[in-house]
Symmetry: C2
Subunit: 368 residues, 2 copies
């Protein structure tokens, strides 16, 4: 054990109180760690299973200081925690992953530049700070394309499609609403499938990658993850290598989820990075010796990383909004493992839970 090791009984600080924090807290508890969650949200899913909760704004300096004094290390389940919050905490307590990683992953321009700087391909893209930039980008990249905010976009929010008829000015106005804005234009990719790879990196630099999985989205929200991805073994190996290279270059301590496109001609293009547990890794709870959540706890507490091999094939279906009403059927299905997040209000598009179909192929289980 290194000097960085936090023994069981130590307290893990969690920034953000959603389901990713909740499942991390459950994994931490199994190993004897306490979780203290910090979130602006009252009655958060994470607080219900945590030893302590601070409900306060991320800008509340006094609350942050008290939180820092009560925990041994801080991690996060939401990468858009304000950078000032992370910087303030880092002066008081280790934050893993830290501000340097988040500064890259919270900004599409920096993120894509970083990836390309490693010689790793992304979809073609251009930075855009005005309607004029959008017009130039379309001229260079062609149509269709997508205009996306550089920061704080998620699940399809903060995006405008640039189709055959779209005028750069109106698209820019729709996104920016007359304010200054950093954005990117991404060229169209005729992809065969979307995949992701989650990599864990320990404080001593050890890397462990989970297998590449295939992701299907509906309305820009992850709907289904198929394990393993239905791609050639050499493509999967390349994707895992890419994810490991980025994780190492960023010097992440914790997890990095790397979303990628596989083109029809077999190229792998990086789409997005997320320095936290990822929805496409939920299957690891039911089909790996070490779940992504336990792996995060191991990495940030300085424990050796656990095994990441796939024990069986699996299909993970998100339960979004009213999907959760299927729970009676799912809890009775012998090969289903149901996970619900304890959210009281059902809202359209809200992630309410997920189900992992064990030893399932994509065609063996009913679609949502």
């Amino acid at each position: 054990m290194s000097v960085l090791t936090l023994p069981p009984g130590a307290t893990l600080g969690m920034l953000g109180g959603g389901q990713l924090g909740r499942m991390t807290a459950l994994a931490a508890a199994r190993l004897g760690y306490r979780t203290h969650v910090y979130t602006p949200e009252p009655d958060s899913p994470c607080a219900e299973v945590s030893a302590a909760a601070t409900v306060a704004d991320f800008a509340d300096a006094a609350a942050l200081a008290a939180f820092a004094a009560s925990v041994d290390v801080v991690t996060l389940e939401w990468e858009n925690v304000p950078p000032e919050t992370v910087a303030a905490l880092e002066r008081m307590v280790p934050v893993r992953p830290g501000a340097a990683v988040l500064a890259v992953t919270r900004d599409r321009i920096r993120e894509k530049s970083f990836v390309n700087g490693l010689g790793i391909a992304t979809a073609p893209w251009r930075p855009a700070h005005s309607a004029a930039d959008v017009a130039v980008a379309i001229a260079e990249l062609g149509r269709p394309a997508v205009l996306k905010v550089a920061r704080l976009g998620y699940d399809g929010k903060g995006q405008v499609r640039l189709g055959a008829e779209s005028a750069p000015e109106s698209a820019w106005h729709e996104l920016a609403g007359g304010h200054a804005l950093d954005a990117v234009v991404e060229g169209f990719i005729d992809f065969a499938c979307e995949i992701s790879v989650i990599v864990a990196r320990a404080a001593d630099g050890t890397l462990r990658s989970y297998p590449a999985v295939e992701n299907q989205h509906e309305h820009h929200i992850l709907s289904r993850t198929i394990v393993p991805a239905r791609i050639a073994p050499e493509v999967a190996a390349e994707a895992e290598l890419i994810a490991c290279r980025i994780t190492e270059a960023l010097a992440v301590v914790g997890l990095l989820a790397v979303e990628m496109f596989v083109t029809r001609d077999g190229r792998v293009l990086v789409n997005e990075l997320a320095p936290r547990p990822h929805n496409s890794g939920h299957w690891t709870m039911d089909a790996c010796a070490t779940s992504q959540f336990e792996q995060l706890v191991r990495a940030v507490c300085g424990l050796p990383l656990g095994a990441t091999g796939r024990l069986c094939d699996a299909v993970m279906d998100n339960l979004i909004g009213g999907d959760v009403e299927r729970w009676p059927e799912l809890v009775a299905a012998p090969n289903a493992r149901l996970h619900l997040y304890g959210k009281r209000q059902v809202r359209p598009g809200r992630k309410m839970g997920h189900v992992t179909w064990i030893a399932a192929t994509p065609d063996s289980e009913p679609a949502r």
Copy 2:
């Protein structure tokens, strides 16, 4: 789903705040249930992972009423909750298992009489309420024998061995200390091994049995569970049948753990019953589709019971007292699944955690 079904989001009341409650709360959270623990112990292992905690004496009527009003169903992790507490709660909220079950299992005299009344064998025994009763029992059962308190004994506490030299008077005085006491004398069993079977029973009467496992004790505390028990298949089947018959006869809603002796000539004798999750079932978290804790949640919330088959062989070692200091080695072992209970103070004989060795045989892992 039956009308008795409590949907996810409902609140499970837990009497007792130890590791059995903690692991039940973690299983409940996965299915979207909240846990509210009631325990006299501040900073209990269960409270650290529960949505709410009441720290109060079991005789506190106002605290019990508030607790009952805040939960949808009550279960327990400690069968020695005072019967008055359970009776008071039952007037306000369903308690599963209920007072009728606990009245039998909390008293060795009633428990053994109940089992024998079903035509199921126990070790030979006699009730004892005085030194004279002990003398008669020894005359009938022979020596060695064991004198045990009828109520509130556990882990070897409340027992006196009756060896070749023991005088009934001094043994009785050692146990009773001059007070009135109900006790039993149990005859010596030259057993080949100790086993246990955990059975779940749903509110609709459905039964599901886990496989018979073998238990090894040190200083009267469970040290190791070997899965499956090293007994003939017909003996295992008889043990499972016995456990199911008792569970059904008691009309348990929840779990019943049945500890048994297997004699050298292959007879199965019931030793003790526990109407709750049991230490010998901890392996189910790592080697069954449904853990005993999830199964308890399913039973008391009116969900269909889950699959109980053994997915692989396993060996479970308790981490007692200073054993927990082995955690760095255990957390690094690829086939070990470490579970720690978040207890701050290490004390001799205190259950601090356990480790499940996956796909292990009794000889393939180091003894403690």
